[in-house]
């Protein structure tokens, strides 16, 4: 299946029309990455064929220890490959010296900043280093690029602050602005959303997406945020359990089961309906039959799954959702009784202790004998 998805993906790229004619900025062929230790090669991943195109936001996914960082370091030219070569703009990356490379490729690293006492603006000016004369003076052009990056990343309110006074999200934006100021066609970010809360995570990914689209930069980032990656990435590179790398458009990888197989080993179930992992494992015992409901249905299912139920056509209980404008009513039949609840909280309480009739009757807005209910 893996090989299959791979070939599908390659073909897809070629059918992409205009984009396929754009030469990739970064390209590898049969790359193997890992570490050299005392003449022994410890291979982390192999047979890597990838292409990073201008204007693309690519997310690199894979479990911890699968070699995401190693791949990024190899692509950035920090770490030598074990075999195969990384090509940057059709030249082997080894052929670039440090100075030339810094004008083609910039990095945003995970290592937390220890530089407590630098102002944000000082850090931003460092990004211009590859372009400065030996005196290190900023020219008008340099200042304009710095201003542009400040505006795009929205960090203007704190350019005078010291970096250690900023929140993690603000710090990350500063480091991204610094990479933008370096004016490179390729930006590689190692887990830029780590340590961030959800609004900041979305903000950062949105910013990167916008930068890729507006500036034509190729942006590669590694992340653990599966659902964010699925929504934002133009392409996903997924490191598989067998040390290979599968690439493709996110939706293709979901549909052809690549995600499911990539994480199966970890004991995780990928839900291709929601694009996320199933949190609750069903013990194969409790079932419930659920009828009706539109907007409410998905949340009802979540509540039921959390309680350990699976949805089936015939179940231990029979729940009918009736939506009436903003109000929702859950009908449940049990033994000779039928109840109507207006809150899922009460539904759950009932499911836990169906034998406590008094509680169920107190919670329900209406309850009756089954016979009566059938009449309604």
């Amino acid at each position: 299946m893996i090989n299959n998805s791979h070939t599908i993906k390659e073909k897809d790229f070629k059918n992409h029309g205009n984009e396929s004619h754009v030469t990739p900025l970064v390209r590898t062929h049969d790359l193997a990455i890992g570490y050299r230790r005392k003449k022994q090669h410890k291979i982390v991943a192999r047979h890597i064929d990838i292409a990073l195109h201008p204007g693309e936001l690519v997310c690199l996914l894979g479990p911890n220890g699968s070699g995401k960082s190693t791949l990024m370091r190899t692509l950035a030219g920090i770490q030598p490959s074990l075999s195969g070569e990384v090509h940057l703009k059709n030249h082997p990356i080894k052929a670039y010296n440090q100075k030339r490379l810094s004008k083609e490729l910039s990095l945003v690293l995970t290592e937390r900043q220890q530089t407590g006492n630098l102002s944000v603006y000082s850090i931003l000016t460092l990004g211009r280093y590859p372009y400065l004369n030996w005196l290190g003076q900023l020219q008008e052009k340099d200042k304009n690029i710095i201003k542009w990056a400040i505006r795009e990343t929205g960090i203007a309110p704190f350019i005078n602050s010291h970096i250690d006074k900023l929140s993690d999200g603000e710090k990350q934006k500063v480091m991204i602005a610094r990479a933008l100021i370096q004016e490179t066609p390729v930006i590689i970010l190692d887990e830029p959303t780590a340590h961030l809360d959800l609004p900041n995570r979305i903000g950062i990914i949105r910013l990167l997406k916008k930068m890729a689209r507006d500036t034509g930069k190729a942006i590669l980032l590694s992340t653990h945020e599966l659902d964010l990656a699925l929504q934002a990435a133009d392409a996903i590179w997924l490191i598989m359990p067998d040390q290979s790398l599968t690439t493709g458009v996110p939706e293709d990888l979901v549909l052809n089961g690549t995600f499911a197989s990539a994480f199966r080993k970890e004991g995780l179930q990928f839900d291709d309906q929601t694009g996320s992992f199933k949190f609750h494992e069903w013990d194969g015992k409790k079932t419930v039959a659920l009828h009706g409901g539109k907007a409410t249905r998905i949340w009802t299912v979540r509540a039921l799954e959390r309680e350990g139920y699976a949805i089936a056509s015939k179940g231990d209980f029979n729940i009918v959702i009736r939506e009436n404008g903003a109000d929702t009513i859950w009908h449940i039949e049990y033994e000779d009784r039928a109840y109507e609840f207006s809150l899922l909280e009460h539904v759950i309480q009932f499911l836990r202790h169906p034998e406590h009739r008094e509680i169920a009757e107190n919670n329900s807005i209406y309850s009756t004998k089954t016979l009566a209910w059938e009449k309604i």
Partner: protein, 359 residues
């Protein structure tokens, strides 16, 4: 989403140090220089010091002589030593990303004394301040070369260790150990020397600014100026290193070259000062912290010039204390710098609470 502002509306801050603070510091250095020249076992009135400094001379030949051939070289040495040691400490703290690094802590000054001792041993002299003074200009260059090489040797060893050990505290311990080994080697050699030489060596380890003759001063100022120029030239590289080596590399910095540059300039400056004045502690570690806390930045474009001023001022201040105005005796400069330097370090740590974050 709010309307994005036009680029012109974004105001960029200035990177230069605050002008008022800078002028104040320059004034302080100048005042301390005058005080250093005026005060001592013989008190010379301030206006006379002014006249002599501005070339008008003085009626009192003795005062002229005292200032021109004794106090001025000593004050110049103090300024050079303050600047050189501060810049060495600053560069080392940045290079090792360690707030406790400094020429005396990591054994650079010990390496310099080893270099001096080896030259003395090899050429049949003994390490005495008297013998040092007897050397002519060629001898001065020999001493500078030896002490610089000695410093560089220790620096390279510590650097090599730092490549294997990324733990700052461990590196510090290794540096202290290497310094101790170096000092022990010199001590063993001292042990086999006569009692007078041991006494002379002890005097040398106290550190002395007055043992530097005008000839030495010339050589020393050339070496130190070269070091200062190199440090100024590498300020933008040092800033990149503040973000860590990986970032520095990704921005096109040749880290190996910068390390070599820092080793060279630091060894040159610390070596030259130690070779002629003996080991002077605490200036190298205290001044960078003091400058950081005064100017509230780690930016080397600010820190390097300001550390020069703070270092010069602190060293002049120490020298004024060392010559115990009004009395005939002098304190060893090394004890004075430690007396002044240690409280400064403690004060900075207490004030900042978190040295790592401020650093």
């Amino acid at each position: 989403m709010p309307e994005a502002p036009a680029l012109e509306e974004i105001k960029l801050p200035r990177l230069l140090p605050k002008i008022t603070l800078t002028i104040a510091l320059i004034a302080i250095v100048f005042i301390l220089l005058i005080l250093d020249l005026a005060l001592g076992s013989v008190h010379i009135p301030f206006h006379e010091v002014f006249n002599i400094l501005t070339g008008k001379g003085s009626e009192n030949i003795a005062w002229l002589k005292i200032i021109e051939s004794i106090r001025l070289p000593k004050a110049m040495t103090a300024i050079l030593a303050g600047v050189a040691l501060s810049l060495s400490g600053l560069q080392m703290q940045t290079l090792f990303r360690n707030p406790l690094a400094g020429p005396s802590v990591l054994g650079i000054t010990a390496g310099a004394s080893l270099g001096v001792a080896i030259v003395m041993l090899g050429s049949g002299y003994v390490t005495t301040s008297y013998a040092l003074q007897q050397f002519g200009v060629n001898g001065s260059w020999l001493i500078i070369t030896a002490s610089t090489l000695g410093s560089a040797l220790i620096f390279v060893i510590v650097m090599g260790v730092s490549l294997r050990i990324h733990d700052n505290v461990v590196l510090l311990i290794v540096g202290i150990m290497i310094a101790n080994v170096t000092i022990a080697v010199v001590s063993i050699w001292q042990y086999f020397s006569g009692p007078e030489q041991i006494q002379d060596y002890l005097i040398w380890t106290f550190g002395s600014l007055s043992g530097v003759t005008q000839q030495h001063l010339k050589v020393m100022s050339i070496a130190v100026s070269a070091g200062i120029l190199l440090t100024f030239a590498s300020s933008k590289y040092l800033n990149l290193l503040l973000l860590g080596e990986n970032y520095a590399r990704s921005m096109g910095l040749n880290v190996r070259l910068v390390k070599a540059l820092v080793i060279f300039s630091t060894s040159l400056m610390a070596g030259a000062i130690t070779g002629f004045c003996g080991p002077i502690g605490f200036i190298g570690i205290a001044v960078p912290h003091l400058s950081r806390s005064i100017f509230n930045t780690s930016d080397h474009r600010v820190l390097i010039p300001m550390s020069c001023l703070v270092g010069a001022a602190l060293m002049l201040g120490c020298d004024i204390i060392a010559q115990l105005p009004g009395s005939q005796s002098m304190l060893p400069i090394n004890s004075v710098t430690s007396l002044v330097g240690s409280p400064v370090v403690i004060w900075v740590i207490l004030k900042k609470r978190n040295l790592k974050a401020a650093f």
